[in-house]
């Protein structure tokens, strides 16, 4: 009697892997986009030093930066349905958690970038009669965002790797497909290098992209300083 007949990797598995890749990219890109926007807003709130709100943001950021994403995922996926009316499915829980996690890291990058803009520029803008909003919009943010782009690109690359954890709560991402293929074929030396290689290639493409963007930003900044 042959029980384990289907132990070879076949062409059909390519589609399985692509399907997993699709989920990985979907959760990753959605949570990156959401996290950057949320983190940006929170960073502005914190930078404005609005009493209570700024402290709350700091506590939120520290808690989510100093705890493992895995536990955060468990808290949202297993815990939330029992104490709130929300019962997210795996993908929703994954996107929600990774968005918040990304936001926490983005706040730190963004606040650092805002603080990197010299104090003198605020005073200069003030003496030109610009309001807080105008100074932020036309003077500080254009520079701060430029400073914050490289660390945000690094964050995106590391979040892509961290996103493999969503497989543990049952999202059918690339890692989950890897587990399925491994359990079926029992060939760890074939399956894991393939899955790892896919992550590797995407990360490499992203870091080449990041280097290119960084170079362009630097060129622009030099032009900016020369003109001044």
């Amino acid at each position: 009697m042959k029980i384990y007949q289907n132990t070879e990797l076949t062409l059909a598995d390519v589609f399985l892997i692509l399907r997993g890749l699709q989920w990985t990219m979907f959760v990753w890109s959605t949570s990156m986009a959401g996290g950057i926007v949320l983190g940006f807003v929170l960073a502005l709130l914190r930078h404005a030093r609005i009493p209570v709100v700024a402290q709350l943001v700091t506590v939120f950021v520290e808690i989510f930066r100093n705890s493992p994403l895995l536990v955060q995922l468990f808290l949202v996926f297993y815990g939330l349905p029992l104490v709130s009316p929300f019962s997210p499915g795996p993908a929703e829980a994954a996107i929600f958690t990774m968005t918040i996690n990304t936001a926490a890291f983005t706040v730190v990058n963004m606040v650092a970038a805002l603080d990197a803009v010299p104090r003198g520029q605020w005073q200069a803008s003030n003496s030109f009669g610009l309001s807080y909003m105008q100074t932020m919009r036309y003077v500080v943010l254009p520079q701060a965002i430029r400073t914050a782009i490289p660390p945000t690109m690094n964050l995106a690359i590391s979040q892509l790797q961290t996103s493999s954890l969503i497989s543990i709560i049952g999202v059918a991402d690339l890692t989950r497909v890897g587990i399925q293929l491994y359990v079926r074929t029992l060939k760890p030396f074939l399956v894991w290098p393939i899955i790892g290689l896919i992550y590797f290639v995407i990360a490499k493409i992203l870091s080449i992209l990041a280097a290119r963007i960084e170079r362009r930003i630097r060129a622009k900044v030099t032009w900016f300083e020369d003109a001044a």
Binding site: L69, V71, F74, V83
Partner: protein, 228 residues
């Protein structure tokens, strides 16, 4: 419905046992990643081409693939070639090797900031390469690299939660068990989240103490002390 910590607090001994194991794994992983990181960093800037290529590939591979995949590869892969694996030691080794890649990059950039003149001076005193590293280069490089290394250590502590996926009963693993027993996932994982926060703050504090004790006042003095 409703949040109730009683049944979870009744199992606090179990959580503490998990915390103990997490701390044990974290210490092992930090030490291993530190030592291997230094070795890889030295390989990375070695004059021997093979070592340089090895270090570059090592760093690239470990930094651009998810830790979960590395862990699965080691844990499921080694038994396939006749090496039995045990969850806790596999976890520590995987964490150590993975963390070493990041640490190597940090230490390398620390080494590159060391004044070339110092190296030439030690060489003129006929110190061996090992002595040059031990007494001249590493004390200075590590002082510069210590703060980013501290961040890497904190990250490593958080990453230890992932070894719970290969059946290690660390803090996260035990928390999952408790949540299955008590049906209080929200309370359990919330407490665990805060415990991880406390642990990372403790690690940061220790990193700062070590900096104050060993690095704050080191200039080029270790070289002179080393010769006496």
């Amino acid at each position: 419905m409703g949040i109730n910590f009683n049944s979870v607090l009744a199992r606090s001994d179990y959580l503490l046992a998990g915390l103990q194991l997490t701390i044990f794994i974290a210490i092992g992983a930090i030490l291993l990643s530190f030592v291997v990181g230094i070795l890889i960093a030295i390989c990375r800037i070695s004059r021997i081409r093979a070592l340089r290529i090895f270090a570059t590939v090592y760093i690239d591979l470990f930094r651009n693939t998810p830790f979960l995949i590395q862990l699965y590869f080691i844990y499921f892969g080694l038994p396939d070639i006749g090496i039995p694996t045990e969850p806790i030691s596999t976890g520590i080794i995987a964490l150590g090797l993975s963390g070493a890649a990041g640490n190597a990059e940090i230490i390398r950039s620390g080494i590159e900031t060391v004044n070339k003149g110092i190296v030439d001076a030690t060489r003129s005193f006929a110190l061996s390469t090992v002595q040059i590293y031990r007494f001249a280069i590493l004390p200075i490089a590590l002082r510069i690299a210590w703060r980013p290394l501290g961040n890497a250590f904190v990250n490593l502590v958080l990453t230890t939660s992932i070894v719970s996926t290969i059946t290690v009963n660390d803090l996260t693993g035990n928390a999952s068990n408790i949540s299955a027993e008590t049906f209080k996932p929200f309370e359990v994982f919330l407490i665990v989240l805060l415990i991880y926060c406390a642990v990372t703050f403790a690690v940061s504090a220790i990193v700062n103490v070590i900096y104050a004790l060993f690095f704050a006042r080191t200039t080029e003095r270790p070289l002179i002390r080393g010769q006496a």
